[in-house]
């Protein structure tokens, strides 16, 4: 009997990305302590190498799909899709940060280690098949993110963002955990498939209690994806955190949180889908409305993008509300398109903000088109994709989401979603108008040209945004096959 306690080699292979990320993270922390200042330039390439190795690891792991560690981890197409997504986002974050950190005189190795740890947590979330593993993954990702949000610790904005993120994040986690405890008590298991069996059999626990537990868990997930009414932290955190960290937080943890939300609700709570669908329906609508109408009033671009990212969580929730395979595929595609688009937009903001992040008003983008036409063009691509203009990833994402919603007879939600995207066009276009049609008032501080890392991050995101818009089939086909039934 003890033999079964020793995992098979294939099981280690299935958690290879997490192992690689953790090892590289620890190595960076070690080198941070022993290397001389001059040698610390190797951290960004080292972190990028770690993420590259993890990327290869997740593809290798997909070569032998299946469960590992007594069904706690499940490597399937769905897990691999999200693993690759969060690792690529981590890679972009490393590229976008190195220049920023040098500019702010904080080029420490721990920043990259924290990015790697956070991505490792998100990777665990992507492949978790068990509520406690979901919780552990969520916390690995969150704890690292709390520190990242307050990385420049002498900046009051940073510490305030970190405090708010930490307090509200832990509060939400407590709700998630309380829901997990009740699900454990009611069904006798924390394994998602065992919960599904317990809920679909004849002796299913009372729906009232299961519903209450599922709702408690939804509070926890809702915080992480910044769904209304749990979105209050997002604007403050994205505005106060260092710009590249906001870029990272607004896409990576959010995609991973959606992965666990979709997996939990479609696998474990699949048998009672009819009962949670109305809740997600209402939440999706509230999230879109709150995000879009608050974004209109913002003058700070980081805060505007924060509200816009709330609105985008609302669109993805439409796909979750569809509770179908095509809905899950649409959510996956949308999250990929949104990740590159939103990251790119935040990366351009990072570039324009300059030292000390003094230029983060929308009006500070006046005249950008003349000063740095390439950056202005890239931001245009991102904003058009956020609006959902054809030939960008955002358009295809919205198209598939609304199609999935219509297939599930969510006609009203589709109509309201479309109206919301029309409202959203206003505040994105406003930035374009400022950028192309207004001149900077007075002599502005010079804007240094972007370095290699920043160029990689911005151009890479733009290329991915366009690629997903022009050839959506490449990703959509994989997503449809990988989506949960």
């Amino acid at each position: 009997m003890p033999a079964s306690y020793f995992p098979a080699p294939a099981e280690y292979l299935r958690v290879l990305p997490e192992i690689v990320l953790t090892l590289f993270g620890v190595a960076i922390l070690f080198f941070e302590a022993v290397l001389s200042e001059a040698r610390k330039r190797i951290f960004p390439p080292l972190a990028a190498a770690g993420l590259g190795a993890a990327l290869a690891g997740s593809i290798l792991a997909y070569g032998s799909p299946g469960a590992a560690f007594h069904g706690m981890i499940l490597v399937d197409g769905f897990a691999t899709f999200f693993r690759v997504l969060v690792i690529v986002v981590g890679l972009l974050a490393v590229f976008a940060s190195s220049e920023y950190l040098r500019r702010e005189n904080h080029p420490g190795g721990e920043f990259y280690a924290l990015i790697l740890f956070s991505v490792a947590g998100q990777s665990v979330m992507a492949s978790a098949n068990e509520l406690i593993v979901i919780f552990i993954g969520l916390e690995i990702s969150s704890i690292a993110s709390y520190i990242l949000a307050g990385y420049l610790r002498d900046d009051p904005r940073n510490s305030e963002a970190a405090l708010k993120y930490f307090l509200l994040g832990s509060f939400a986690t407590a709700f998630l955990l309380y829901g997990v405890a009740w699900i454990y008590g009611l069904t006798g298991s924390t394994n998602l498939e065992a919960i599904r069996r317990a809920l679909s059999g004849g002796g299913a626990p009372p729906l009232m209690l299961t519903g209450a537990a599922a709702a408690l868990m939804f509070v926890g997930f809702g915080f992480k994806i910044s769904a209304a009414p749990f979105q209050i932290w997002a604007p403050d955190v994205y505005q106060g955190a260092p710009a590249p960290v906001s870029a990272f937080l607004s896409v990576g943890p959010k995609a991973a949180a959606f992965a666990i939300l979709i997996r939990t609700y479609q696998t474990a709570f699949g048998p009672v889908a009819g009962d949670w669908q109305p809740l997600v329906w209402a939440c999706a609508l509230a999230t879109m409305v709150v995000g879009n109408f608050a974004a209109i009033q913002q003058s700070n671009i980081k805060r505007m993008l924060a509200y816009s990212s709330i609105a985008h969580a609302g669109y993805v929730l439409i796909a979750v509300a569809a509770a179908s395979q095509i809905g899950a595929a649409a959510a996956m595609f949308y999250l990929a398109a949104y990740a590159f688009t939103n990251f790119g937009a935040f990366a351009v903001v990072t570039h324009v903000a300059r030292k000390g992040e003094r230029y983060v008003k929308i009006d500070d983008f006046a005249g950008l088109a003349q000063r740095q036409p390439a950056m202005a063009a890239m931001l245009t691509i991102f904003l058009l994709s956020l609006i959902g203009v054809p030939l960008t990833g955002g358009f295809c994402g919205k198209f598939y989401i609304f199609k999935a919603a219509l297939d599930s007879n969510l006609v009203w939600l589709t109509v309201l979603g479309l109206l919301n995207s029309a409202v959203a066009a206003y505040y994105y276009l406003r930035v374009l108008v400022v950028m192309y049609m207004k001149d900077a008032d007075g002599p502005a501080e010079p804007l240094p040209a972007a370095g290699t890392g920043m160029k990689l991050a911005v151009y890479g995101s733009a290329a991915a945004t366009l690629l997903l818009g022009i050839f959506p089939g490449l990703v959509l086909e994989f997503a449809s096959r990988a989506a949960l039934k």
């Binding site: 406690i132 919780f135 552990i136 916390e139 704890i143 709390y146 520190i147 307050g150 610790r153 002498d154 900046d155 009051p156 904005r157 940073n158 510490s159 305030e160 963002a161 970190a162 405090l163 708010k164 930490f166 307090l167 832990s170 509060f171 407590a174 955990l177 309380y178 997990v180 405890a181 009740w182 454990y184 008590g185 006798g188 924390t190 604007p235 403050d236 505005q239 106060g240 009033q297 913002q298 003058s299 700070n300 805060r303």
Partner: protein, 110 residues
């Protein structure tokens, strides 16, 4: 001497533990929402996590299995990690602002 009521001899019923856990969780949530000192708010979160631990242990005992005990260890480990990071963050806030009143930490707005 009158005989003790039966409930004192035998194990307390599951519902008692769950009610206690729910009360502690609600107290923690109320403390989070209504207290103004950051340290107290943080302690309220710890109270909520420990209320969850009590539920895990009670359910685990009722189900006659020990995985619930192990979950509570996981929760403790995570709570400890969170405390380490959280207190450090609270310290940076205090250094920057010389206050621990949560309402005074509100410079981020439009």
């Amino acid at each position: 001497m009158p005989p003790l009521p039966a409930v004192i001899h035998g194990p307390a019923p599951l519902s008692w533990y769950l009610i206690l856990s729910a009360v502690l969780f609600a107290l923690g949530a109320a403390g989070f929402l209504f207290r103004r000192n950051i340290i107290t708010v943080f302690m309220s979160i710890e109270l909520m996590l420990n209320a969850v631990n009590l539920s895990f242990i009670a359910f685990s005992y009722k189900l006659g299995r020990n995985d619930g005990h192990i979950f509570s260890f996981f929760v403790m480990v995570v709570a400890a990690a969170e405390a380490a990071v959280g207190l450090a963050i609270i310290l940076t806030v205090f250094k920057n602002r010389q206050t621990l009143e949560i309402d005074e930490v509100s410079s981020l707005k439009n």
